[in-house]
């Protein structure tokens, strides 16, 4: 397998700050004004034996494609995106009409469903959905997985250097307890919802709080932590954590697990805070513009096969939502609690859901204030 990522190609799970996402605003006449909308491309006609996939780096590799080809004689091509925003911008500027399968993250799926950019799946054509773990049979943004089939999931947590930090870290509140030791030596994710959500959790509120008083309280608490925060970054923490510049970083589980696997001598630890964190998943969807939905269904069925799911989980460090595959995993992977946390750890965790615009405005204002003090 090629190196999964470098500092420059590192993917981020969600709202990564990609500088050059090009958004094209299509204009549709609508009464007296015009509608601020995206280009609605016509779907391209596809060959029956070709499948084009748009996904995250290394959710796919030549081996996976070759095996699929031997089963179905379908040629697979794929393109990579590094943030949901890039993917959405590509689709909405009319360039992505060749893709039949896409892998968005939770909130992006919600967004695509709301704008009717993905088809409602015909469940009679999908085999193996019953293999998914119960908690992935349903989600708050796509009830009963009507439009999406989960392929991977993970958590948001804290990775720290246990050689430097002697106190065992178990919860978000430890950040505040240790803030003098951490001064300018910790990072948080560059994501307003994750950072505010974690603080809200530390106060005993919901990750998705819509209560302005609670959000304000979280902001005030965060300002106390500000001297400790070196920067907000989603993926540029790895090198500096390993070099010892940073002692603790807020991170997505698959990035943290990778860092731990690659540096066994460093005593890095990943913690899922006990008061709860966010749970995320990436799922396969079929866009309405898919030139070849028939083959897309074949791909989804292929990915749902336990043997295939086992294979991917071993190669890439993310957790499979496939129970049958989980049962077949070799022990070291299956018992990796960073990847597959016990039920009790997951209980207080929440999925991040899209909030109403007025509430998002409140979050955004506090974020602006926090990052420009």
């Amino acid at each position: 397998m090629p190196p999964r990522r470098s500092a420059l190609t590192a993917r981020s799970r969600r709202r990564f700050l990609q500088t050059s996402a090009a958004i094209a605003a299509g204009l549709a006449s609508h009464g007296c004004g015009w509608t601020l909308a995206e280009v609605r491309p016509a779907s391209a006609k596809g060959d029956k034996d070709k499948l084009s996939i748009y996904t995250w780096e290394s959710y796919i590799d030549p081996a996976l494609i070759d095996t699929f080809h031997t089963h179905t004689a379908v040629d697979v091509t794929y393109d990579i995106y590094d943030s949901n925003e890039t993917m959405l911008a590509t689709l909405r500027s009319g360039k992505g009409t060749n893709y039949s399968v896409i892998y968005p993250t939770d909130y992006a799926i919600a967004d695509m469903i709301e704008r009717k950019e993905v088809i409602t799946l015909d469940k009679s054509r999908i085999n193996g959905l019953e293999n998914l773990m119960p908690q992935f049979q349903d989600s708050p943004f796509d009830p009963n997985n009507a439009h999406s089939v989960p392929v991977s999931w993970g958590t948001t947590g804290l990775i720290y250097n246990a050689n430097e930090i002697k106190t065992e870290i178990t919860d978000w509140s430890d950040l505040w307890a240790l803030k003098s030791q951490l001064t300018r030596r910790m990072t948080l994710l560059a994501d307003v919802r994750e950072v505010m959500g974690a603080t809200l959790k530390s106060l005993g509120y919901s990750y998705n709080s819509t209560n302005p008083a609670e959000i304000q309280q979280a902001y005030t608490k965060l300002t106390e932590l500000k001297p400790a925060i070196a920067t907000f970054t989603t993926d540029a923490w790895q090198n500096q954590l390993i070099a010892g510049d940073y002692l603790l970083c807020m991170a997505y589980s698959m990035d943290a697990v990778t860092a731990i696997q690659e540096n066994p001598d460093l005593n890095l630890r990943y913690v899922i805070p006990k008061s709860g964190t966010s749970l995320w998943s990436d799922a396969m969807v079929i866009p309405v513009t898919a030139p070849n939905p028939d083959v897309a269904y074949e791909w989804i069925n292929y990915m749902l096969q336990p043997a295939i799911a086992v294979d991917i989980t071993k190669r890439l460090f993310f957790a499979t939502p496939n129970q049958a595959a989980y049962d077949q995993l070799p022990n070291p992977v299956r018992n990796n609690q960073n990847l597959f946390p016990p039920e009790a750890t997951l209980k207080p965790c929440e999925r991040i859901i899209t909030l109403p615009p007025q509430v998002s405005e409140i979050y955004d204002r506090y974020w602006t204030r926090l990052t420009s003090k």
Binding site: A7, L8, R15, L17, T19, A21, I23, A25, L27, H30, G31, C32, G33, W34, T35, L36, A37, E38, E85, A89, R115, R184, V192, R193, K226, I229, A230, T231, F232, A236, Q240, A243, G244, D245, L355, P357, S360, E361, Y363, D364, R365, W367, T368, R369, T371, S372, K373
Partner: protein
């Protein structure tokens, strides 16, 4: 046109288009380009900026200046202030660093070597700006190249990554070649006979510099400074990667409005118009005081 052909004429003017048409024909392609890709989009952004809290999918009904009043709120003024601070400081730093270099290349280096030296100065522009910022992280971080060197010299470490100095270093590094190129173009045209005359008449080198070199290259200085200022106002990468936890700039704020949690394209458009306005003022100054030939050389 056909009427012309009936008129007797010694010259074959019948086939030539009228004089007034010439500039029109010449300007038409660029004009259409500008209209479609600059004027109309800018007007659309302006229209959007008049709609409070509009998100994609909603109807555009301009209703007032609410988004612009919001710019004046205490949450956003520090952001504009920070962008101005980064941009102005970078302008001053590039001028201080760039002038001696441009002077040296234009006046001290033999003609045949000048292009080579200039080329080597412009080379960094050929790499990605993202790559250059990441390189600065490697250099400036607490256990990075700079501090390793300082420690070898028994000097104390400097903690400047994720603070303002790091942003200024990154921006200055990125924009210095522009400044040098423009100043070089201005200084190269310097009338050296005036310097000789000044020396003959007893002026000290410093007097000659301030009274002859600087005034003669003033248009180049103005052009370089404004170009750096304009580019600096829109810089996204350096503040984002090098600035740390308190590095919100106008460019980043605009990004957040369009692609962040709020998707408030109305407010984002108002911020974009503000940035456009600041840059337009700078360009107006450039046209008035700058050396257009020097500026167009870049």
């Amino acid at each position: 046109m056909t009427a012309d052909s009936s008129r007797p004429s010694p010259k074959p003017t019948t086939k030539a288009p009228p004089k007034w048409l010439e500039p029109l024909v010449l300007l038409l392609p660029a004009g259409v380009w500008l209209l479609l890709l600059l004027v109309i989009p800018t007007l659309l952004i302006f229209e959007l900026s008049l709609v409070p809290a509009i998100r994609p999918g909603q109807v555009v009904n301009p209703s007032g200046l609410e988004n612009y009043f919001r710019l004046l709120q205490p949450d956003y003024l520090p952001v504009l202030g920070r962008s101005l601070f980064f941009s102005l400081s970078t302008t001053i730093l590039t001028l201080l660093l760039g002038f001696p270099v441009a002077y040296w290349i234009a006046l001290k280096i033999p003609k045949q070597w000048q292009n080579l030296v200039l080329l080597s100065f412009v080379l960094p522009l050929w790499t990605s700006s993202l790559l250059r910022s990441y390189a600065w992280i490697t250099i400036l971080r607490p256990t990075g190249v700079m501090n390793t060197a300082l420690n070898l010299l028994k000097l104390p470490s400097l903690d400047i990554l994720n603070r303002e100095p790091a942003v200024l270093i990154g921006m200055t590094y990125s924009l210095l070649p522009y400044m040098v190129l423009i100043l070089y173009a201005a200084l190269e045209k310097l009338d050296r006979r005036l310097l000789e005359a000044a020396a003959d008449l007893g002026a000290t080198p410093s007097q000659a510099f301030w009274q002859i070199t600087v005034p003669q290259s003033f248009t180049g200085i103005a052009a370089g400074a404004l170009l750096v200022f304009i580019t600096g106002m829109g810089d996204f990468v350096n503040p984002e990667l090098l600035g740390g936890a308190s590095s919100m700039t106008v460019a980043r704020l605009i990004y957040n409005q369009f692609l962040g949690v709020t998707q408030n394209w109305g407010f984002g458009s108002a911020l974009s118009m503000l940035l456009t306005l600041v840059v337009s003022i700078a360009i107006a100054l450039l046209l008035k005081y700058g050396d257009r030939n020097a500026a167009s050389g870049v």
